[in-house]
């Protein structure tokens, strides 16, 4: 018997289909899906790479790096490449470059273009946590005559020499004498020996020769820390004078 010629067969198929549907719709709801459990992730561990390249910066290398990240806004003649320093200033084990420079007045507009700049301008004189607690902070701007410290963060073991190293901070520092790098571990050891209190040092420090204060990375910005001033701030307050009678 051909299907074509038998409407009863078609009818039977439809009835059977309807029956299956009816049984399905009347059955109790299916068990809910249960979220998959996940195996415990492996402990986070960074793979060791080649040793970081902390060789001192040759002036030509330093100028080339500045040009790579800052382009035309910092003419090379304003870069004090001979004073460049190398250290791990942000504590990521990759060598960073520090170069003093004094921008030209005609480049200030480009330097202060907050939307299109490829650098971050910071005022290193604002104490740690002060900016964070400021309810209405304002972006730092480069002013005429400012002396800046450019810090180019490194990438990988090649550090600031890597073409990938392009994160640069321009720090307003007002003034500075000759600078030197002090390794974080050395400072920590000295501080522990002297029982001095220090901020959390993620990276190497930049110290002014002849001064106690040093520049360090807080994790979000660079700030100066003056141990003498900090000690003074933590000293007990002098006794208050008696209030004078109002006239």
């Amino acid at each position: 018997m051909s299907l074509r010629r038998s409407p009863f067969v078609l009818l039977a198929v439809l009835v059977a289909t309807a029956a299956v549907a009816a049984v399905y719709l009347r059955r109790p709801p299916a068990q809910p899906n249960v979220e998959e459990s996940v195996p415990a992730p492996l402990p986070v561990a960074e793979e060791p790479g080649p040793p970081p390249d902390f060789r001192p910066a040759h002036p030509e290398e330093a100028r080339a790096a500045v040009q790579r990240v800052l382009g035309d806004v910092i003419p090379l003649e304003t870069v004090r490449a001979h004073a460049a320093l190398v250290g791990d200033f942000n504590g990521d084990d990759s060598p960073d470059l520090l170069v003093p420079l004094r921008p030209l007045e005609e480049k200030l507009a480009a330097l202060n273009d907050l939307e299109l700049a490829n650098w971050i301008v910071q005022d290193a004189s604002v104490p740690a946590l002060e900016l964070e607690a400021d309810p209405s902070p304002k972006p730092a701007l480069v002013d005429k005559g400012d002396l800046l410290l450019a810090i180019l963060h490194g990438y990988g073991s090649a550090g600031w020499r890597s073409p990938e190293a392009r994160q640069v901070y321009l720090l307003k520092v007002a003034r500075h004498s000759e600078l030197s790098v002090i390794k974080r571990d050395e400072v920590k050891a000295q501080a522990a020996e002297r029982k001095q209190r220090w901020p959390y040092l993620r990276g190497d420090l930049v110290r002014e020769l002849g001064h106690d204060r040093f520049l360090y990375w807080t994790g979000g910005r660079y700030v100066w820390h003056d141990p003498a001033a900090a000690k003074l701030a933590q000293a007990p307050a002098p006794p208050k004078e008696k209030a004078k009678a109002k006239p």
Binding site: L10, V13, N33, E35, L116, L129, E132, G220
Partner: protein
């Protein structure tokens, strides 16, 4: 031939009715809007009632403190509507001994207020690791909670090795400590909104509480490790669990943050955002688990309103090291010390202080601060022409 068609149709029908109902529900867009309206998880009246509890200012008679940060959830989560962001920051502190972070005595969170000056917490000497953390958005978090573990592992596995996120498993308090992928908090320290609510009620407001009967958050905080019992007039637990349940239900029923005007520049900017690698971690779309799925260690069933929903967090809810880490360890082990959860960018136009510490004041500044795993994307950004950059910023301003 006609018979064949009939048979095919019949077979298709049988197949259709045999398919689990949950799978038949098509994936639809998660409702979005800063309009205080429910996403359907609860009715509007329930959402409004729960919002009032979320926004209630606690008093000393309620159990506030003795040490606390704010008096109500709504004091930190309220821009532009209750449940949103704010620029209020938490202070965390501890010590790094060269290999490990050791939290401040009494916990890494340094509460900023107290009901008596004698117990005001402060950072003690020797705790040189100090970090401010901005208040997070909670709107749309029901969709995040309703996202299956496997979705996050899929996202992670699709990321290039250099950008791959880190997953941590954290206990779900209401499920007796059952482990689930962390997704809430700057350090992904929670996996469920109920656990997160109980934690915040205790640590941000000082209200001891029960979470589904579990007493993990039923012991009063200390002030720098010293007991504050003599200042505490309310017996513990100060909330039997009703309030934390209301907080969680409020967040579950909120809509996701909505987009602002989407201009031509914003559309072009999103294409750039994707092409330069931002979207590897700032994932544009995620789909929740099917309705009825048991999540949170079996303690919660995904509701119809939250299931099979596509939401747009522009985040992967995974931990990454982008060079801005705060040195604080919570639930993830020492390896996560300098990792933070990718900031979900939904609603980012409501913020004027960016990144986890609020230290970036412009979008450009925030992008330029990215390093570590985000180095390539940041460098791609710096290589853009001015039009592409402006478009990308326009896109961010539309989120």
């Amino acid at each position: 031939m006609r018979s064949l068609k009939v048979l095919t149709l019949a077979a298709a029908f049988v197949g259709l009715v045999s398919t689990p109902k949950a799978l038949l529900q098509a994936v639809t867009e998660a409702p979005a809007g800063f309009d205080n309206l429910t996403n359907g998880h609860t009715d509007q009246a329930t959402l409004d009632a729960n919002r009032a509890i979320f926004d209630k200012r606690e008093e000393i008679d309620d159990g506030l403190g003795p040490v606390f940060d704010m008096r109500g959830c709504g004091e930190c989560h309220r821009n532009p509507v209750i449940g949103g962001i704010s620029q209020v920051t938490d202070l965390r502190a501890g010590h790094f001994n060269g290999t490990s972070f050791i939290q401040h005595v009494g916990g890494s969170l340094i509460q900023s207020q107290a009901i008596d000056p004698a117990i005001e917490e402060r950072v003690l000497d020797g705790n040189e690791v100090r970090a401010f953390r901005s208040s997070l958005n909670t709107l749309g978090d029901g969709f995040v909670e309703a996202t299956a573990n496997s979705t996050f592992t899929t996202i992670r596995d699709a990321q290039p090795a250099a950008q791959r996120g880190t997953i941590i498993l954290v206990p779900v308090v209401e499920a007796g400590g059952s482990l689930r992928i962390g997704r809430f908090g700057h350090k992904n320290q929670h996996a469920s909104l109920l656990s997160s609510s109980g934690d915040a009620y205790l640590n941000e407001m000082g209200i001891t509480n029960l979470v589904n009967g579990f007493n993990n958050f039923a012991t009063e905080n200390t002030s720098n490790g010293n007991s504050v019992a003599r200042f505490d007039q309310v017996p513990d637990p100060e909330d039997d669990g009703d309030d934390v349940e209301a907080f969680a239900q409020f967040m579950r029923a909120t809509k996701a943050p909505s987009r602002g005007p989407i201009t031509a520049a914003a559309i072009a900017g999103q294409a750039t955002f994707n092409s330069i690698g931002c979207a590897v971690c700032h994932v544009p779309s995620i789909v929740t688990a099917a309705p009825n799925t048991l999540i949170n260690g079996g303690a919660l069933r995904v509701s119809a309103a939250l299931g099979n929903k596509r939401y747009h967090p522009f985040g992967d809810f995974l931990l990454h090291n982008v060079g801005t880490g705060d040195g604080i360890v919570q639930n993830g082990g020492q390896g996560t010390r300098n990792m933070v959860r990718t900031a979900p960018l939904w609603g980012v136009r409501t913020r004027n202080r960016l990144m986890h510490d609020g230290l970036s004041l412009t979008f450009t500044d925030a992008i330029l601060r990215h390093g570590g795993q985000a180095t390539t994307a940041r460098n791609n950004f710096t290589s853009l022409d001015s039009t592409s950059r402006a478009n990308l910023i326009a896109f961010l301003r539309s989120l």
